[in-house]
Subunit: 689 residues, 2 copies
Amino acid sequence: MRDFTDHLKPAHDGTATLQAERDGSAINVKELAWHLLGRDGFLERQEKVLKVLSKEKIFKKDQQLNLSRPERYHLGLARAKATQRLIRREGWDHEDYKLAEYLNDEMSPYFLHMSMFVTTVREQGSEEQQSYWMPKILSYDIIGCYAQTELGHGSNVRGLETTATWDPIKKEFEIHSPHLTASKWWNGSMGRTATHAIVVAQLLLPRRDDPTTLTSHGPQTFIVQIRDKKSHLPLEGIAVGDIGPKYGYASMDNGYMLFNHFRVPRSAMLSRYAEVADETGAFVSMGHPAVVYGSLTYVRGQIIMHARLVLARAVTIAVRYCSIRRQFRDRDSKSPQDDEMKVLDYPTVQIRILPLLATTFALHYTGEYMYELYRKSRETIEAGDFGPLAELHSASSGLKSLCTTLAADGIETCRRAMGGHGFGGRSGLVGLNADYLSKPTVEGDNWMITQQVASYLIKKISEAVKDPHATPKDPTDELFQYYLKNRSHRVPQTVVKDGTIDDQAIVEIFQWRAADLSYRAYQARVVEKKGWTKMMIQLHNLSRAYSEQILVTNFYKSFSTLSSLSSPTPNVLKICFRLYALYTLDQAASSFSMTAAVSPESVYGLQDIILELMAELRPHAVKLVDAWSIPDFLLDSALGRSDGKVYEELFDMAHRRNPLNKVTFDPNWRSEDIVMGSGDGGKHVLAKL
Amino acid sequence: MRDFTDHLKPAHDGTATLQAERDGSAINVKELAWHLLGRDGFLERQEKVLKVLSKEKIFKKDQQLNLSRPERYHLGLARAKATQRLIRREGWDHEDYKLAEYLNDEMSPYFLHMSMFVTTVREQGSEEQQSYWMPKILSYDIIGCYAQTELGHGSNVRGLETTATWDPIKKEFEIHSPHLTASKWWNGSMGRTATHAIVVAQLLLPRRDDPTTLTSHGPQTFIVQIRDKKSHLPLEGIAVGDIGPKYGYASMDNGYMLFNHFRVPRSAMLSRYAEVADETGAFVSMGHPAVVYGSLTYVRGQIIMHARLVLARAVTIAVRYCSIRRQFRDRDSKSPQDDEMKVLDYPTVQIRILPLLATTFALHYTGEYMYELYRKSRETIEAGDFGPLAELHSASSGLKSLCTTLAADGIETCRRAMGGHGFGGRSGLVGLNADYLSKPTVEGDNWMITQQVASYLIKKISEAVKDPHATPKDPTDELFQYYLKNRSHRVPQTVVKDGTIDDQAIVEIFQWRAADLSYRAYQARVVEKKGWTKMMIQLHNLSRAYSEQILVTNFYKSFSTLSSLSSPTPNVLKICFRLYALYTLDQAASSFSMTAAVSPESVYGLQDIILELMAELRPHAVKLVDAWSIPDFLLDSALGRSDGKVYEELFDMAHRRNPLNKVTFDPNWRSEDIVMGSGDGGKHVLAKL
């Protein structure tokens, strides 16, 4: 369609504006990108996979928000299948595949198959079970899911209601859902896609002396075919389907499943660590799976690294758009000729975006630290010595909680900082936000799992109190010993010394506060025997303080790795360190004061320092987000486009690519029809209700 | 469909659980509901309108999340039209209509017609224009919208690019969009529905001495037909359409519109206050519209009252669901027979929900105060004496910012407190959240408008500094005089005196902090001549502190109205006051300490006090949310149902009413088809992309 709008241009040229921003900073973007993302050839791989995906029409994203939920699942499945064909056509390895999923940026209906399903068979299946199932899994002859969570039961696996009762006559298990709340629920890939499921159920065995009485042996895993191979309909005795729309994950078929005395053979129980003896029907345990500290640390490291890229996406969009968007002249400006200001030059916009920009780097260096530690200690782990990893593993619950909260909240903060257009679909944040909002509550609820790290810290500081001169096994031991030695004569630190910010003092302030809160928790729990439940808020705050200390410490330690970067990058990253740390300090100032970590004067002076740090960081903002190397394909955002064509893309999408504009409506209430000149008067829509 | 799931029940009976909760509190719900919502017959009206709407199939909400964006607009328009027919069938008045919109709970495609469109014609049209247009508007013979905001220009009306140039020969205006960024954008009801628009454009007149030079007379309003009466297609020279999907408001056709030298007659310019003289072509101004302090205060009051009901909805859902949901036994429990705990009994859940429950009441009493003041001073307003209303009006920007932020953030806090099911579509929060997230950035961005109240406070305290003994005209004058008299010998207050919480001291603490921050702003701006832009964060914080002080003060003042309520309601509401105030104090503790409003010891003791207050409030939580009287029809939530049938409804929706489950898919990647046994193999979906 050609019309008079074709030749129109925005009043200000966004491309030129972004170019000027880039010209205004001497940061070497390629070098910094390599520093951040060089690991495992990520950048080359991203380029390679992007080239393929961006040519395939089915991976185009710009109509996604127009689709209905059923259509959105159709599309997700079509893409999942197309990806499998691409893997084979392009000869992609597993890392390429994961990068394709990252760029495709949706929860795929196949996702559980190659994650929890295959992992569980591999880790908990006997050798015989593995040799039977693994070829079918790897070829996708079957599609699997993982059915643990139930309608009435989330994190507490011991509370699951689904039962698997051993029938000693037929030598089968009978899987059954005694209540509605026993329905499996939320399980990804199960609603429409999977042919098989790992089912977690309470194992019940008849007592040998009294076969009418059942004894529970806790939750066990079973591999169960749930749908017919040909018709793909549920097997008799199974009710299974999709649970319906959610905040996000529209492409994923999260499912429900109930069993009605459903029978599976003895071989269905994954039996690497436990089985029911064929002859006697007795429960045989072959030990518990070795705690996989190492790989868990790796997984938590991935959550942090993912959080940093999610946050980097939101910040990339906000920084670029707010550099282009102009609004109001400076109130003190004397000249009526002055342009409207770029909104990123307002401190009220900076205070929302720039600390988050700094946070992306804070997350990065802790994620790096965890990866490095995992890599270095792989050998000792295999020898059974977990060394400093045990420490980090326990801290990882707190970090999962903190980092996913920072990223989830950060997306919305960026959106609001963008004003009206942030609310639009072409902000690129609608889907990101809807999907990522699951993170604070899944894989360990962010408020619940903080108890784990608090529990660990209380144990550690109790040991330090008992023996203040033991040889420290890890940094936490060192910290607690330092704290106990100095607590009686603590002088709160100041942030600024001789007119400059004291980075080392900042680190000490965060560490001291974490130690002091640990000591208070120890006092309450161990000395005063306070109830655990009553302490939960305090424990949550402790975990957060401890995790913030980890981020600050690792960011500070990274300074030694920055010398390879050319000027001004190392200094700009140090500004990010200060901004992240002091902004965090300011947000929780009362906790820092109460613990005598920092002097009140330092706290009251923070706002001015933060303003100055933001002013120093401002000229580098666009180049810093460029370094995160988020492709336009993934950003899927008019506001965040790397070429600055914000308004051109917003308008093009509305005027030329909006399906709603292809229909003409009858707005007159006297007519019951909705669509003008259409066959059915829009009645097909109403029929859906 | 009948199957084995039909007879299944949840392990715990939600209905009995909620009944037990209700039996555990002696609050008289009807009485409290009347206290909160008795005004203007709201409760009876709600019952009356609900009865009608809930019988009409088209207003059923449970499939909304399954629809595509175009379908969602179709439905919105169908409902808008159906509502007009109901109004006539039922003989509803305007208040009934507004209540129907509230219960229908979607932005209607007719919304702008009966709000900004009719208001602008009424307020800015000449008598002649009104007698021509009003009958057409009131009968909905035309449907109007309001086209002010542009693609490149939001809050700053002076920056609008659309021009209306006077042609002295033809005596017409030529409306034109010089750039892409001049496109009208976001304007509700314009995308597909409206036949007419109020267009705001810069009026340009040729200079009489040099007709080739144009003089701008600032933004003026024009009433313009934009679509053909019969075909409903855009008129020649106009490009208009829907801007596409957004976070929320899927039922609304927010639009874009560009003009290509589009001609309108002289009569198009609304000319109550300004016109172009017919003969001379000169700009004639008949004064500015009287500042409508009164009605603006009323509108702001409405925003607060709306925010409280939105927050009450989220809190209702969270309180009911978290009373029913159980997870984990108490960690210190000695008996393995103990039930899992209700999650609302965990302090980590309480700390997220109960302060928000208290906030609903805090918002309420300030909204009430503004309504009352408006009502009382109507006569004096009409006589031109704005009295204490001027004060309140200026504060209302700060309150809009604070209250909509509290409600928007509160929805998400409630969602996360509900764990996994909070992420589900039947939480009832998906649509509420998506729509309400617009509020912090529209109708005055929440960060920008706080400058207005700060500016006012600086002016007021400057006056008080100049003349500390002038007769105070309003509460702010009184506060500032009190502050200036006492600042040299201030002793920070304590919250607890003689073992009890001192409510009056709490009020003083909030007021002192607001006064001290005002004084600091005055010092920086007036004395030290600091740049306005550099002060913006400080000004924002000042506005927030001042607004929090208003909420606390009005809540405290409401104590005198509580005596008519039966026990224990007045005491429970006082607990809410303390919880709201002390939670707020704790969140911003550093600001209260810095201003010497409160003693550090008081701050450090807050967490224990808050825990105790929450324990006192907990037994009344369900009845308190019941009092907000949100009908199930409006909640549209499985989790928040008043009868507690959480799991029954979640399951029924998934198993019996999910359209995705009507289709069987082919999960095998080797086949390009998606749907099994369907004619088109799902290709219609892909064709949409």
